[in-house]
Amino acid sequence: MLAATGAASFHDSVPDSFGQVQQAHVPQAPDSEPLNPQSQAPRAPRQQPPSRPPAPHRPQNSARQFPTHLSIPSLDADAPVVPTAVSRDHRLLLPDPSRLGWWAGGATPGANSGTTVLAGHVDTPDGDQGALYALSAIRPDAKVLVRTPTGVRTYRVIALRTYPRQHLPPEVFRRDGPHRLVLITCGGTYSPTTGYARNVVAYAIPDR
């Protein structure tokens, strides 16, 4: 009964914004702050103290922590991941629509702090589905599995929001603060000349 109510309200909030969902699943989230450090408050005993300096960068082979594969069982989403970077005009470049890009300027999965950003296409130029086609339909608490050469990291979705596509706030890409995973694709209305109006962004935290 509760599940049915939750599903309905989650779906109802989709057309305009996911603000209500965000508030429902991320306690005390100010509207301007989609990444909510308080969301991990119940996990405080396991959390690193904020004053603690970040762990030293692994000198040997940090590529062992690179994400290589993403899987969201509840969406039937399953795609390889490759590193990507930011163009001079501030776009996060993406690989072909069958794969996801990992922003190499951010955190690796399982890092002590900062955001791991994975972005992928919602569709293909031929009108097929991209790797993150179904992201808009992701549900709170959905499990997200990220594979690296050293193992699989599991995350839990806590919020879904949309932003104007050309103006993703820097908070989405935070390099500090509690570690989290951010998934990005396109959504909203579509114009053949300017493309999709918005970016759909899902936030997830480590599921320990």
Binding site: A63, L92, D123, P149, P192, N199
Partner: protein, 222 residues
């Protein structure tokens, strides 16, 4: 005379033994070479060829000094690494590919076609992927290789490739934060088709709910 013949014969046998012995030890060396060693030599050589070619592209197309310098570093280091690798391969009698693999060539073509705005990002991302693979290849050889000369070649190249990797990680960070992600092209998701899944979940939930209500209503009747 017979004595002399014997001496000649003995000498010939001794010479034959030396020759055979030499051949035998050469065979032994080739025999110690495993398929893993061959895979490493070929893969590392192709990766060197790819890094040298990509380094040249970075020197000519890179828009920042950092990227141009990284290009020069790739050319210098991978030229050196490849020179010693080719010696090891020649001694082990392993023939090496003439060009990078298909994936590496595809990346080069992409970089060649990249716009000025995109080149640095594509170069840095491509190098992170390439060096990650090169490091994995080297680690596999170090842990599973057979021929000591080949394993040593992997050990010698590991710190060089790891230091490149760290430089590319720093370069990725210095490209700054993105503010947009162009993750759609054809508009198939615009009609909300991709929300159907959520709608169905909602509907399914409602069906379960109405089922529960029916069940609750039936209960008092019993």
């Amino acid at each position: 005379m017979r004595r002399m013949m014997r001496r000649v014969a003995a000498g010939a046998v001794a010479a034959a033994v030396v020759v055979l012995g030499g051949t035998a030890s050469a065979h032994a060396a080739a025999g110690a070479l495993s398929e893993q060693d061959r895979v490493f030599l070929r893969g590392a050589h192709q990766s060197n060829l790819a890094e040298i070619a990509t380094g040249k592209l970075a020197q000519s197309k890179g828009s920042s000094a950092e990227v141009k310098e990284l290009g020069a570093l790739l050319i210098a280091d991978h030229t050196k690494l490849d020179a010693s690798l080719r010696k090891v391969a020649a001694a082990a009698n392993v023939s090496l590919p003439q060009q990078p693999n298909a994936e590496q060539r595809a990346l080069q073509a992409k970089l060649q076609a990249a716009s000025g705005d995109e080149f640095d990002a594509m170069f840095v991302a491509g190098q992170l992927e390439g060096h990650a693979k090169a490091m994995a290849l080297g680690e596999k050889e170090i842990s599973a290789g057979s021929e000591p000369a080949v394993v040593n070649a992997a050990k010698a190249s590991a710190p060089v490739i790891a230091s490149h990797h760290e430089k590319f990680m720093a370069a990725a960070r210095s490209l700054g934060l993105p503010d947009s992600v162009d993750s759609g092209t054809s508009g198939v998701a615009a009609a909300g088709d991709n929300m159907v899944a959520a709608g169905l979940v909602g509907l399914g939930g409602l069906l379960v709910l109405s089922g529960a209500v029916v069940a609750l209503r039936r209960q008092p009747a019993r």
